[in-house]
């Protein structure tokens, strides 16, 4: 396909530099079009649209954070984000998208087709461009149902977008090793590089060597002109960067009062936790502990699906955490604890066991301990149930602890806030 230089973007044509601003009388004949080849390239328009759509996604990030479509891509290196269709606003009546006239069988009251809960595309014969464009298979022009376009980002880019949006500070990992920078001095020579890093002396030395060995060199007229193979550039050897590793211990309350809806929320939050921490650390190990009255280490799938139906003894979980943590000594691992519960602990005695365990044995040795309370949703749920119970207990004890974070997660829409809270400490 011939790519004509888009003469609109570089207006070298004489007509643009007219002093006279009024272009109203310029007429363009079809032959003008043939000079520029196939119209004007549509690539810039596409790129511009993608830019804007990405911006919109960043704006509405909270909405995207709870979307299954994103979360289902867990573990992939490339994430596909559906780009929204951006409509131009116009004066419009509120039920403009609901009603219409259809054709076919059925009885009044029957459901005709499953909507997707979004704006419907009822019969609007008077709207749309009606440009004489036809689309086969009887679809209404321009309204392909279920058509999505995707923007592909790497997992790192995606995590960065989240981090930027939520303004999460980068985590400064703890560790014995000092952090040394990648770029120190230019200690070696390479055959490739930017012009700014040309090593002149070496380059000419190589050129001289070459010209001598090929017999070109003339002592009476010593001219040396380096050729491409002769060029040498300053370079650096990346110094080995000490590896920082993180160990994330997830704790989930699977007692009777935690149902699948709450687990869903926990799963979504966990997706973002993983994403962010994987971005911050080279290696991330994850451990999953479930508990009711007793605690047990499990696999990831079990973690999000098991229903134990027992009572709740949170202290059992902490004990298990300590056991697991022995495998990841604090000197080499940055340890994180993320706990999800509905806050309904067995009794106050257990509460005080918990706070003791946290205070003495867990908090001092973990980068950060986080607790998210996801209340059970029912008509009998008291208002602000997310901040009662265990949440309150923790609040009373650890309000000022530096590496302890707690947040209520009332529902899907609060996931963004929870992530922000968890990581705003930069730990």
């Amino acid at each position: 396909m011939d790519r004509s230089s888009s003469s609109l973007n570089q207006p070298e044509n004489n007509s643009f530099h007219n002093e006279d601003d009024s272009l109203a009388d310029i007429t363009f004949t079809p032959s003008y079009m043939t000079l520029t080849g196939f119209g004007i390239d549509i690539q810039p328009d596409r790129a511009r649209y993608r830019d804007i759509a990405r911006g919109k996604i960043r704006e509405d990030l909270g909405k995207y954070m709870s979307q299954d479509e994103i979360i289902a891509q867990k573990g992939k290196d490339i994430i596909k984000i559906p780009l929204p269709r951006i409509d131009s606003p116009h004066f419009q009546t509120q039920s403009a998208n609901g009603e219409g006239v259809g054709q076919g069988d059925g009885e009044p009251g029957e459901s005709i087709s499953r909507g997707k809960g979004k704006k419907g595309s009822g019969s609007k014969p008077g709207q749309g461009k009606g440009k004489g464009e036809g689309e086969g298979e009887g679809q209404e022009a321009g309204e392909g149902e279920g058509n999505h376009i995707y923007e592909e980002v790497t997992i790192e880019q995606f995590a960065d977008m989240i981090g930027e949006k939520l303004q999460l500070p980068r985590i400064e990992p703890k560790g014995d090793q000092k952090i040394s920078s990648d770029k120190g001095r230019y200690t070696t020579i390479s055959r490739h590089g930017p012009q700014a890093l040309r090593h002149t002396r070496r380059t000419f030395k190589e050129a001289l060597k070459r010209s001598l060995s090929s017999g070109e060199y003339d002592p009476d007229d010593p001219v040396i002109i380096p050729e491409r193979e002769d060029f040498r550039y300053k370079a650096f050897k990346p110094e080995p960067r000490p590896e920082f590793n993180a160990c994330i211990i997830y704790v989930m309350d699977v007692s009777y009062s935690m149902n699948s809806g709450q687990k869903e929320i926990a799963r979504k939050v966990a997706f973002w936790i993983d994403l962010w921490l994987q971005r911050q650390y080279q290696g991330v190990e994850r451990v999953f502990i479930i508990h009711d009255e007793k605690a047990k280490e499990v696999t990831e799938e079990e973690f999000f699906s098991i229903n134990a139906n027992g009572g709740t003894k949170i202290s059992s979980a902490y004990k298990e955490v300590l056991k697991v943590a022995e495998r990841f000594p604090a000197s080499q691992w940055n340890r994180y604890l993320f706990q999800f519960s509905d806050g309904d602990n067995y009794d106050e005695k257990d509460d005080s066991v918990c706070t003791d365990l946290l205070k003495e044995q867990i908090l001092p040795f973990f980068n950060q301990v986080a607790y998210g309370q996801i209340p059970f949703q029912s008509s009998r749920t008291l208002p602000s149930a997310e901040t009662q119970g265990f949440y309150k207990t923790l609040q009373n004890s650890f309000n000022s602890a530096e590496n302890f974070v707690q947040t209520p997660i009332a529902d899907d829409t609060k996931i963004l806030d929870a992530i922000k809270k968890f990581f705003s400490g930069g730990r």
């Binding site: 196939f38 549509i42 511009r48 269709r85 054709q103 004489g132 298979e137 009887g138």
Partner: protein, 555 residues
């Protein structure tokens, strides 16, 4: 020659120019145009008419000899039936190109804007998922440009050509298109160049922002303007009327002194003077009458730099260009479908292609619940009209007859069907098409129903099969293309240069988020507060946008 030709029962109705007034016919003959039946019969390439310049430049795939012959045959057959159209030029495109052209509404060049990029992206997915193959793309211009997909088989191409020919006739003959700018390719190109120039001078982001604002108000035009003032002689201009010459109200110019008392009799001058005095006393309304063409109002009165004024006029010009297409979607598609069906049957379809034709035709006119397929209802309605006018199922006798059986058997063999549909396609838009020709009979036969959407689940639910409800729902969607009627009623509200718009409330309140955005856009140009009066829950409501943002209150 009288306007309606005698029904010709012995052969196909010849419509070539016969329903145009004599002066028009003379002009047509002088142009050696399609209307001349003798010229029309010759293969196009031997005609003495300059071949239209190819649109997209040299070195592109061209129509094969074969297809070119088919085009000529199809067009001659069409003319035999009475269709007339500007010369049609087909451009062959590859599939990725056709999406780029379609994204630009059929034009190779449009001003740079992300919405074309967005359309392209979404069209591209459609094709990849094979859920929508653009069959025909044709624009309203002279010559008519239409695009064919290089990858389609010859049979498909013929199908498309028949369809395109129908569209071309519609564009040419329907009165709602009579004032459109047929040099549309050039028009779009000029727009593109102006916008590009402004981007060069003022920066892309700035210009894009202005275009975005202008697009929000691109539908605020006056749909009747084009036909009411064909030469742009818009006496309804909203600017302040010039002050009349003091001391000479209503005085007409006179070439000779002795004519003075005849041209300007004292009574007339006196009457004019009194009228002037009355007007002086009354506070002037600005604009004098409510204005639907808000774009024009802003172009003339908004305190904006000239280049922004030009952007508004670009958007306005394009809105007016596309308006008739939006008003005639059902008819246009129906007409094109009717003719591709007729032409394919007689011209192209040899036995072996019968299935393919049937498949293509049915796939285009298939129902897609819950949508009403505009192709289908258009063609069915035209067929219904043809049938009725052939059988005489119209007029006072027919209306008076209530006997079911008699109505079924009714056949006066009048044979006016073909002629009638030509007339219908000339004089109607979708609104009058449906209002005048949709019958209870038709609704029942085609199982039409109304539906709406469950607000919670998003499911579509059928509501009623009653004729009145079906017709009213359709009409509601067609009046003003389904948009709320908004007028600018005051350009000097509170005597502080504020704008007041009025929404002519029918049934539903305005959608809030969009209202805010549109008011914001008008405010961008007007720089003084803008408000709109409407209703919600039976109470008056005013939404306003000014320097402190958006507000809404009961009024």
């Amino acid at each position: 020659m009288n306007a309606t030709p005698e029904p010709n029962l012995s052969g196909p109705a010849r419509e070539s120019g016969s329903d145009l007034p004599a002066s028009e016919q003379a002009k047509e003959l002088a142009n050696l145009d399609d209307h001349n039946p003798i010229e029309a019969r010759l293969p196009l390439r031997t005609r003495e008419v300059k071949a239209p310049t190819p649109l997209l430049g040299p070195g592109r795939p061209t129509l094969s000899e074969d297809l070119r012959d088919r085009q000529i045959q199809i067009e001659n057959a069409a003319r035999d039936h009475g269709l007339s159209f500007y010369p049609i030029v087909y451009e062959m495109l590859y599939s990725h190109e056709i999406n780029a052209i379609a994204a630009r509404d059929g034009f190779p060049i449009r001003y740079p804007h992300w919405r074309f990029g967005m359309e392209y992206e979404f069209l591209n997915t459609g094709y990849e998922h094979a859920s929508s193959k653009i069959y025909e793309l044709v624009i309203n211009s002279d010559p008519v440009y239409a695009y064919l997909m290089a990858s389609n088989e010859n049979f498909d191409q013929e199908f498309v050509m028949c369809h395109v020919t129908g569209h071309a006739d519609f564009f040419r003959n329907n009165i709602y298109f009579s004032q459109t700018n047929r040099q549309s390719i050039e028009m779009m190109a000029t727009h593109a160049h102006r916008v590009a120039k402004y981007m060069h001078l003022y920066g892309r982001d700035e210009v894009e922002k202005v275009i975005d604002h202008a697009l929000s108000i691109s539908d605020l035009i006056d749909p009747f303007k084009m036909l009411a003032f064909p030469n742009g002689n818009d006496k309804q201009s909203s600017t302040m009327k010039e002050e009349p010459l003091r001391g000479q109200p209503g005085r007409l110019p006179v070439t000779r002194d002795y004519l003075e008392s005849f041209i300007n009799p004292p009574e007339a001058l006196e009457a004019a003077r009194i009228k002037e005095e009355k007007l002086d006393k009354k506070p002037r309304q600005f604009p004098e009458k409510p204005v639907r063409d808000v774009l024009q109002f802003l172009i003339e009165n908004a305190p904006i730099p000239d280049w922004q004024r030009d952007i508004l006029s670009i958007v306005r010009e394009e809105s007016y260009y596309f308006l008739p297409q939006m008003q005639t979607k059902i008819m246009n598609e129906g007409w094109a479908s009717y003719w591709h069906s007729t032409l394919m049957r007689q011209e192209v379809v040899k036995d072996k292609n019968q299935d393919q034709h049937a498949h293509l035709h049915s796939s285009i006119t298939a129902s897609q619940p819950p949508n009403l397929n505009p192709y289908k209802i258009g063609i069915e309605l035209f067929r219904d009209i043809e049938d009725r006018w052939n059988k005489g199922k119209f007029g006072p006798e027919w209306e008076a007859c209530t006997n079911e059986d008699e109505r079924k058997r009714w056949d006066k063999k009048v044979g006016l069907g073909r002629e009638k549909i030509f007339e219908v396609r000339r004089l109607n838009n979708d609104l009058s098409f449906i209002s005048n020709y949709l019958t209870m009979d038709f609704c029942e036969r085609h199982q039409l129903y109304t539906f709406d959407q469950n607000a919670v689940t998003g499911d579509y639910v059928m509501r009623s099969r009653e004729f009145e409800k079906v017709r009213d729902t359709l009409i509601r969607q067609l009046v003003n293309c389904g948009k709320p009627l908004v007028e600018l009623v005051d350009g000097n509200l509170h005597n502080r240069g504020e704008i007041r718009l009025m929404h002519h409330f029918e049934k539903d309140p305005l959608r809030q988020d969009y209202t805010e955005a549109v008011l914001k856009s008008i405010y961008f140009f007007w720089t003084r507060p803008v408000c709109i009066d409407s209703k919600r829950n039976e109470v008056g409501e005013r939404c306003a946008f000014d320097q402190s943002g958006y507000r809404r209150w009961k009024n």
